[in-house]
């Protein structure tokens, strides 16, 4: 699983899918998660990273992470066949 290669994400959180022409806005934590996924980090790495930085517990983070991932998948921003870790 990875973010589709052609997806453009700017520092402001504006995300553009050039295949579908759809655009989205993600918040700063969303940008961070997408960057980490792009770097090929596993859920374990991402979870560890975010738990160190933000005041939240593991269960909440896991739920929010997979909700976010699901939103990316529904909007076809994720390529499930593209593996890099």
């Amino acid at each position: 699983m990875n973010i589709k290669k052609n997806i453009a994400l700017s520092d402001s959180g504006y995300l553009f899918n050039p295949s579908s022409g759809e655009s989205f806005v993600v918040n700063p934590i969303g940008i961070e998660i997408i960057d980490l996924i792009k770097q090929g980090k596993s859920f374990g790495d991402i979870s560890k990273n975010l738990l160190q930085k933000y005041n939240t517990d593991e269960a909440t983070l896991e739920k929010d992470y997979f909700d976010f991932l699901n939103m990316l998948r529904i909007n076809q921003l994720i390529n499930d066949e593209e593996k890099n870790n």
Binding site: N6, F16, P18, S19, S20, G21
Partner: protein, 347 residues
């Protein structure tokens, strides 16, 4: 060295809420680096806005409606040609294309070139023949039924609602029951004639491709776009250029299989399963084609060069993520201009 001025007549000057393509074509020609053009407008109605946009249209002549027959059109073109020494005509209305296709040889002998689809291409892609087209070229299309009478509307149990009721040339309405199908049948047929097409309704997002085929199977230009803002008439009021290999592949396939000659527009719907359905093939440059100019593929310019028999290098790329946003604006026009056009038939 000064370039020779090319005299180009264009129609589709109705820059209204359901706009003709004249505006996009004229702007593309004005911005064409390789051409020096004089643009002659061909108008059907005295209130087509572009008639009065003198920065785009140098001179306008009224044309008889296609229903007047090709002789009447030819006679009017002969008059215009005598005044303007036309090099090229770009007809931009679906409803007039057939007449111009019939006149292509005659006009060629007069020194006027066009770059239009052949009769076979024009007929084959017609709304009423879309199912056969899909089968022949292995393209997914919604199911279609052409009817000439309200008695031919199938029983409600045989229909899946909603469905789209479409006119031969223009107009489309979504019907939710048989009564509505009848109402729209009468409404559209009164305006555009028969047949009326009943088309399966596909839920999803609307995508379009505009392009240009050289008549030998080569793609000269192709720009896909996703509609972002759609008017109540179903017209794109804003759209964004996209990079969708599937749509470009479909376009190349369409051009190479049909050896399409001229400009065109593919109208597609992508459903929830991300499957594209080809809804319609319009045999001319679409009203939103200025986006193609804006992203680096000047389709009107390339079409003129093909019409002049020049070799045209196919465009290979375009800017992705560029948005067109249409707008409306009021012009203040002196009554004298309107009067001159109404009385003399030219302005």
């Amino acid at each position: 060295m000064k370039k020779k001025t090319i005299n180009i007549a264009i129609s589709g000057l109705n820059a209204i809420d359901s706009p003709g393509p004249g505006m996009a074509v004229a702007r593309g020609l004005r911005e064409a680096k390789s051409l020096d053009v004089r643009i002659i407008g061909l108008a059907y109605d005295t209130l087509e806005p572009m008639i009065y946009m003198h920065h785009l249209i140098d001179k306008t002549y009224q044309l008889p409606y296609p229903s007047a027959g090709t002789d009447a059109i030819l006679s009017r073109i002969e008059y215009i040609h005598a005044q303007e020494d036309l090099d090229i005509i770009i007809p931009n209305f679906d409803a007039e294309l057939y007449s111009f296709m019939k006149l292509e040889e005659t006009l060629k002998k007069m020194g006027i070139s066009m770059f239009l689809p052949t009769f076979e291409q024009f007929e084959e892609r017609h709304k009423i023949n879309l199912s056969k087209f899909g089968e022949k070229y292995d393209v997914t299309v919604p199911s279609n039924l052409g009817i000439y009478d309200t008695n031919e509307i199938p029983d409600e149990t045989e229909l899946t609602f909603p469905l789209v009721v479409k006119g031969k040339w223009y107009d489309a309405y979504i019907a939710y029951n048989k009564e509505q199908v009848k109402t729209y049948f009468n409404k559209i047929s009164a305006k555009w004639g028969l047949p009326i097409i009943l088309q399966e309704f596909i839920h999803g997002s609307e995508y379009n491709v505009t392009g240009l085929g050289d008549g030998k199977g080569n793609t000269i230009a192709a720009v896909p776009m996703r509609k972002q803002y759609i008017t109540d008439k179903g017209k794109a009021w804003a759209g964004i250029s996209i990079d969708e290999p599937e749509l470009l592949e479909l376009t190349h396939k369409f051009i190479s299989a049909t050896k399409w000659r001229g400009g065109f527009e593919l109208e597609l719907m992508k459903n929830q399963e991300n499957k594209y359905y080809l809804l319609e093939i319009n045999p001319r440059i679409p009203a939103w084609a200025y986006l193609s100019v804006g992203v680096g593929q000047n389709i009107p310019e390339a079409l003129v060069k093909l019409a002049l028999g020049e070799k045209v290098t196919p465009y290979s790329n375009y800017d992705v993520g560029k948005i067109f946003i249409r707008y409306s604006m009021d012009m203040i026009v002196d009554r004298k201009e309107f009067e001159k056009l109404s009385i003399d038939g030219e302005l």
